[in-house]
Every structure is written in structure tokens, then in C-alpha cells.
Subunit: 490 residues, 2 copies
């Protein structure tokens, strides 16, 4: 955190603690300069930050004031119903969300894209260009199956930040985290095997389970701590579960960071029942808190954790460079990697290795973490302002994804259809379930936040309100049916 | 073919027909200029071509002479033994061949790498560099699942050269042909399904079949025409085969081009038994004859052909850009694509689309076809010069891979081990079989041919001779065992 961010943070706490009340005037720039011994521009930057977050407003010639604002929506609570192992459906929803044309005029509020417009990413483009101009034969040729050693070294070095002690030879470079997950699934189980997942869960993992003929056991998940260990233990007792797949850091879609104690207990449970853990750490470096939490992999003493990651969220998804540290399943993972795609694209690996080695990764991360944290609060305020009061919202501890739980009558798939005309799309809740649960939920992206985004959020909120109103006006029979469906859908 | 290539071709035929005998002097440059009404440099180029192919030699101040040379090794004949469906083994061999470090000092005579050093490839590097410098957000962002429309348009246009009428929307961009094959396998069959393959066959397809728990039925294959239709028909009658996987153009490893009639008959057989065809066309554009043969896909009236291709052999493998035209299994293929890698790398797609659209693809192909044809003949001569007389060699009709069948006593895996010390590696025959057949065979690469390559070939040939001599000196019992193993291995 730099100086003005620190100052903004301090002022925000003061406001949140009620030291400065809504409508009250904040200290003048000059006062703050003297009190904190910082420059005028630091204070101005701090105020701009709070302003863009919707926390304060500047009134011409009178100074800065705490904005009167609505309460932020409360966080959702843990789901209840627990099921038997099931087959995964919902491909239609996922397909629709991933076959979008990136050039169209629609506002994709639901996608998992980071902001790739930061100046701190430019050295990456320069590295790509430089390697192309170098005309070295290496750039165009097949890489070795395991991937560039120089890149694996950098990934191993970065992993120390999450307390993972990986050797470069423990890693296999993959075509994005998608391939890492796909490899992990096949490495741990054959068709028919049961994988326990947090719920809601990343649709990519669910569809991988579907594709390989496995079954999924959705475990209720606390939106602020992660997968319920009690429910998981019960499931492990009752079913021959092969592996547990979780995203403990900056969970997609819930945004929580699983506490270290929880990670330890999860690992102990996996040991007790001798099951594998697939740990998806694709957002891990985007935890707002620094230093970030240790991965579950860092606790792994017997190679049962398959750690999956990529540069898609922290840097740029179009490069399609990820990795897997498959633990005891290394040899199987190499076979899957070979069969799935052969070696990984060489050029992007070379450029990424340079980018990190030259020290550009950390400054970029610092910038993005601060931006995403700012945007999170702005987005929560926007939801408070534009969504019905019945809405719940998560409190993401990292990344750039917000999960909203609307009143049980809401059908987010129908919502998405109605939004098409308004040229906005959200990610409907059922995408994140094997069997279409979370129907009254949706995921939105705050990687960027500006008036355009806020306008899109406002359109979504208004449509949700309209649909809930319509549902309220439905005949009684219909209402009962809806409620039943909503109950079933939790 | 340009003027000097035409002239060289004419002179080569004359030599091969015996019009000019070994040791005889060829017409002077001036004579040819007058007789053919071409420029001096055309004649000089033609002579250089023949010289680099080892067919003639220039003697200072006396002119050009036909080189006395040994007969080229005769082509191998079709294998015999036919088996039941089996599970695929041989991963160890493949792993060894694909985990090589590209920077080491060893001479990888066995790899499937094209020559990527041609000046006609430079516009591709320029396009990569340009797109990186443009700093457009598109370069770094997720692409849509199906791949860049501009690239699919170019691939559809190029496919016309093989008489395939594809719409850009019939195509899905993949991470190399590996992913295309992997998708095709899973689209046509579930674990336990039987896939019929030509034999020897590309090890990547075999390992994909293994990875997805399917079985393989190896069908004897004519080294000059392809999969035996009689044997295939018998197999289709006896076993519930799901799909036939073939590489009809520039077959890897045999190099044949399947005649059009053979393609028609194969397609008719697939229709009669209602099985799918997986057509691997990854080398298709490298057929020496122009225009190239129509794909089987071009004959497809009911969507049963899944066409797989990539730019790995015609352009550059490190980009990892391929495609699949999955016919009636389009929707399943999209699901597999999503699960396997998500969308494909954006940057390389943009650069490739530019490269082709700007007209750089055809000149590059022309150049490479001529080079590979030249090198084929030079390589055949090198094998004639350096391998024991008991060696058979294919007559590739395209691509850059030569298949050698040595005397039955040779063990190509042991050969490869012995070559390690001499810093040469070949691709041993068992890699190309599900169960380790073709043990006395090996594959070598002639994408480049120069004195270094010839020296490596000489080392391999000498080692083969040494091993056969040793085998000849073995006690009788051992000999009988070897012969039995060699028989079983055919
Ligand atoms: C939790 C999670 N895992 C994996 C992925 C896939 O990442 P990649 O784009 O690197 O394949 C995503 C991206 O959407 C994700 O959100
Ligand atoms: C016949 C055949 N098919 C497919 C492939 C794989 O191609 P790619 O490098 O595009 O994945 C190869 C490359 O070795 C091959 O020889």
C-alpha cells in the first residue's frame, strides 16, 4: 500500500467507525497535510479514492463530505440442503456464457475477466514483442512437455509467497488453469468416481467432472469461510469420495478467503479419509491482505494436494498459461498433459518468465489488489443503491467477483434473458451448481468500476426489482410453486 | 514449381531413367541455357538443387557429373499379424521422446519438428510482434470458446485447397492438433470403446486412446497406400468398432498419400458399418504434389468425419494453434474444448490470421514442399550410403519423416539407448504401436538436411550395422528367440 492508499484506508475506517457521520464535513486538505506530514497530492489522491468508492463527495468550494448512503447489503448465509452424488448438468448456461463474441456491444457484467488495461502490464506486451523480434528458433518450436524451465523457476519462487515450497521440477506448465483442473480431475479419478466440491463452485471444474463421467457431491459452503467441514465429514463417511475440489483463496464465486485453521482442518480430514485435494489457486495472488494466506499445498506432507493455478487472473487470460503441481500424481499428470495438448505455447512462456524475472509481477499485483479492493466497495455501494433491499451480497477478500443472493422468487436465468435486450449479461447462479441450484443468485464482476459499470448494475438491479414485483403479483398457486422451487434450488 | 525446380526435375528424371549414367558428364550450363531458353542462373540453381540432393557432383573446371551411388533402399511391405482390440502401452517411450530439453547438445533425428528457419516465416514473427506492440486489449483477453472468427475464415479458405467446403462456423480452434485429436476421441467414444487405427500410427493418438480408457485395433497398413481395407472390413465385421482414425495425407510415420480411390472406399466402408472417421490432416498441406489430394472430409455427406489439423507442421509448432471440424459431433466437441483448455490463446490466433490473409502462407508452403522433397531424396541416398543393405525405407509423398525397417533382429529401443552416448536420438518403432510392434523400425526427420544431419545418419547406420553383427554372433538359442520376438513384433 502506498502513502495515499494508507491515508484513504485510515479515513475510511474513521467513517466506518462513525467518527465522521453521514453529511459531515471532512478535514480540509491543508489540515490533513499538516496532521499526517504528507504532500497535498497525497491527500488529494486519498480523497479521490474515497470519492470514486462512493464513500464521500466533493462539494465545490466547501470541501469533502461523508456521503449519506444506504447500508450495504448483508452477506448471504450458508446453504442448507445436502444431496447425494449427482451428475453435472447446466452446460447450456456455461456454453452461453463462454461463446460470447468479445467484440459485441453487450456489457458482460458476469464474466471472469480481470482488468488488463493497467500500465503495469505493458512490460509483458513488450516482452512478447521482443521475443518475436528476436527471431530465435526457440520461440516458434515445440517446447519440452513439462514447460520452460525458466518459467517454472519463477512460478516456484512466487509460490514461496504462499508458503509453498515447490521445486521447478514439481511443476508442469499447462494451457491455463482449465487444463490444470482437467488434468487434476483425470489424475485422481476414473469415470464414476465422486468428487466433493464447495457449492456454489466454479462451473469449469463442474463441467470437467461431467466431461470425464464422474459424479459430484455438492457440499454446503459458508460464504465467509468456505466448505462446511461438518457436512464434508458426513459426506466422507457416507460416500466413497475420491477427492475434494476447493478454491480456498478469493473463492469464485463467493470471494471468501478460507482461514488458515479451516485449511488445516480440511487437510487433516483429507488425510483421515485418505482422499486427494484439488486446490484451485487461480486467484490466490489477488488476496487483498498482504502477505497472502498459505495454500493448502503448503501444508501438504504426503503429496495429496494437486495445486492448480494460472496467470489468467493476476495478469492476462489470453496468454493461456497455467500450471499444476500434481504431487504424487506427477506421472499421471504428465500423461494427461501430453494427450490433452502436447507441449505448451513457447512464446508466451518466454515472455512471462522475463516479465516476472525483471520484477514486473509484484508492482502489477500491488496495483491490481488496491484497485480491486476499491472497486469492491464501490460495487457494494452500487448494489446497495440499485438492488432491492432483499438482496444479500458477499464480502470478497480478494479477486474481483461479487455474488448476490436475491429474494427466493428470483429466477436468474430468466433475468439474464430479459437483460439481453438491455445489452447487459450477468452470470446466473445455476452455472455454479451441478444441478441448477442457486437459481436466485448471480455473479458480477468489478475488475473495472466506472459510471458505465454502475449504469449496468443499475439496469440489473431495476430488472431484479421488476421481476420480484411481478412474482409478488402472481396468483397464489404460482407463488407457492415458486417458493417450493426456490427452496429446492437452495 | 518455379523454372529452376522444373529444370532440376527434368534432369533428375533423365538421370533416373538412365539417360545419363553414373560418372557421366552432364550438359554444360551454356548448352542447357540454349536448349531450354532459360537464364544462366536458372541452370545454376537447378544444378545446385541436384547437387544438394546428392544426385550429381560439380568437379572444378570440368563441369557436373552424375554421382555414382548405391541403390536406394527398397520400400517396406505391409505388416501381417492382425490382433484383437488391445489397451495401449508404450508411454515410457513416448514420454522419453517428448520430455527432451530442446537446448541440449543431442541431435534429435527422431522428432516431428518442421524446419522453422525459413525467411518465409518471418512475417509471422513480425505479426506477433506487431500485435504485441499494438497493445490492444484483445491480445491479452480471453477469446470466445470457438476461436477467432478471422482465423476460422482463413482456415476455411485454405481447406478449399483440399476440396473441403467448410464454413468458418464448422470449425473450433484448438491448442494444436493434439487437442483436436483428444477432443475427437472423446467425442466419438466413451471408455471401453474400440478405435481402429492404421499401424504404425502416430503415438499421440494412441496415447489419447489410452488416456480415455478406450481400446485400439491396429489394422495392417500398406506403406504406399495406407490402411488395408480388407483387414479393416474384417475387423468391422468382427468387433464393435466405434471409429477409424487415419492420417491419409503425408502419413506419420509412413509418409504415403492415400490414393483418392482408397479414400472413397474407406469412407464407404465407414458408412456401411456406421462408424465415425477421425481424419488427422496435420501434414496435409505438405504433400509434394500440387494440388494436394482432397481430404476424406471433402467426401463427407453425413457429418461422420472429424477433421483435425494444425499449423504445427506447415508453419510453427510452438504456437500451439490447431483446429477441428467435428461434423455431427460439434456440440460435444465444444464441451470437450471448454473443459480441456477453455478458450485458445488469442495473440497467436491474431498473428496467424494476419499472416495468412496477407498472402504469406502459400509462398512459405511452396518453399517448404520443395525443400522437403529435395531433402527426402538426399536422406534416402544417405540411408543407402550408411545403413546395412538389409534396410527398407519408405517413399514419403509429403512431409519430412522417413520410416526405416531394419533386419528383424534389430531392437530400435536398444539402438536408441546406445545412441544416447553418441548424442543422437531416433524415434523407435514401438512408439508407433499400441503393444510395442515395429521393434525393428525407426523414424527419422529430414526437415533439414546438411552435413551435420548426414553425419548423424551415418552414426545411426553404423550402430545398426554393429548391432546386427552382434546379433548374428549370438548363440543359436538367442537367435531363435530374437527371430520369434521379431516375428511377434511385426
Ligand atoms: C476458479 C477458477 N478456476 C479456474 C479458472 C480457469 O482459469 P484459466 O483461464 O487460466 O483457464 C477460472 C476462470 O474462470 C476460475 O474462476
Ligand atoms: C500425425 C500427427 N498428428 C498430430 C500431431 C500433433 O500436432 P500438434 O503439434 O499440432 O499438436 C502430430 C505431431 O507430432 C502428428 O505427427
Amino acid at each position: 500500500m502506498n502513502r495515499y492508499e494508507r491515508l484513504a484506508c485510515e479515513l475510511r475506517s474513521r467513517i466506518e467507525e462513525g467518527y465522521y457521520q453521514a453529511g459531515e464535513r471532512l478535514p480540509s486538505v491543508r489540515d490533513l497535510v499538516e496532521a499526517h506530514r504528507v504532500s497535498i497530492s497525497t491527500v488529494q489522491h486519498a480523497y479521490q479514492l474515497l470519492e470514486s468508492g462512493g464513500l464521500i463527495e466533493a462539494r465545490p468550494r466547501s470541501g469533502h463530505f461523508v456521503r449519506p448512503r444506504r447500508e450495504r447489503p448483508p452477506p448471504p448465509s450458508i446453504g442448507r440442503a445436502m444431496q447425494r452424488p449427482v451428475e453435472v448438468s447446466q452446460w447450456d448456461q456455461v456454453r452461453e456464457g463462454t461463446c460470447l463474441l468479445p467484440n459485441s456491444k453487450t456489457f458482460y457484467l458476469g464474466r471472469g475477466m480481470p482488468d488488463i488495461d493497467a500500465p503495469t502490464l505493458r512490460p509483458l506486451l513488450r516482452a512478447l514483442s521482443r521475443h518475436a523480434r528476436r527471431q530465435s528458433l526457440v520461440t516458434l518450436n515445440y517446447d519440452s512437455l513439462q514447460g520452460q524451465r525458466s518459467l517454472r523457476e519463477q512460478i516456484a519462487r512466487l509460490a514461496l509467497g504462499a508458503e509453498s515450497h515447490l521445486h521447478p521440477d514439481d511443476l508442469v506448465i499447462t494451457t491455463g488453469c482449465h487444463e490444470a483442473i482437467s488434468i487434476a480431475m483425470r489424475a485422481v479419478g476414473e469415470p464414476g468416481a465422486i468428487i466433493a466440491v464447495d457449492s456454489p463452485s466454479f462451473y469449469g471444474s463442474l463441467q470437467a467432472i461431467r466431461s470425464y463421467g464422474m459424479k459430484v457431491m455438492e457440499i454446503p459452503t459458508d460464504p465467509s469461510r468456505g466448505i462446511s467441514l461438518d457436512a464434508l465429514e458426513l459426506a466422507l463417511e457416507q460416500w466413497p469420495i475420491r477427492a475434494i475440489q476447493v478454491t480456498p483463496s478469493c473463492n469464485n464465486p463467493l470471494g471468501y478467503g478460507m482461514p488458515l485453521e479451516h485449511r488445516r482442518a480440511l487437510y487433516a480430514l483429507a488425510q483421515r479419509f485418505d482422499v486427494m485435494i484439488i486446490e484451485d489457486d487461480v486467484y490466490g495472488d489477488l488476496e487483498y491482505a498482504f502477505p497472502r494466506q498459505p495454500t493448502i499445498k503448503s501444508l501438504d506432507t504426503d503429496g495429496r494436494v494437486l495445486l492448480c493455478g494460472s496467470f489468467s487472473k493476476a495478469l492476462a487470460p489470453g496468454l493461456r498459461i497455467g500450471w499444476i503441481a500434481p504431487g504424487r500424481h506427477f506421472e499421471r499428470a504428465m500423461h494427461m498433459k501430453y494427450v490433452g495438448t502436447g507441449s505448451t505455447a513457447t512464446h508466451a512462456q518466454l515472455a512471462l518468465a522475463d516479465f516476472i524475472e525483471e520484477g514486473h509481477y509484484d508492482p502489477h499485483l500491488r496495483r491490481m489488489r488496491a484497485q480491486y479492493l476499491r472497486n469492491r466497495d464501490a460495487m457494494l455501494d452500487a448494489v446497495a443503491a440499485h438492488f432491492p433491499a432483499s438482496t444479500y451480497a458477499t464480502r470478497p477478500q480478494g479477486g474481483f467477483l461479487l455474488w448476490l443472493e436475491c429474494a427466493p422468487e428470483l429466477d436468474s436465468i430468466a433475468l439474464n434473458q430479459r437483460l439481453t435486450e438491455q445489452k447487459v449479461r450477468i452470470a446466473p447462479g445455476p452455472m455454479f451448481s451441478a444441478v441448477g441450484k442457486h437459481r436466485n443468485c448471480l455473479r458480477i464482476n468489478y475488475a473495472t468500476f466506472d459510471p458505465q459499470v454502475e449504469a449496468a448494475v443499475a439496469r440489473v438491479g431495476a430488472e431484479v426489482a421488476r421481476m420480484l414485483e411481478e412474482a409478488g403479483q402472481a396468483p397464489l398457486a404460482q407463488l407457492a410453486e415458486d417458493a417450493g422451487a426456490a427452496e429446492a434450488a437452495r
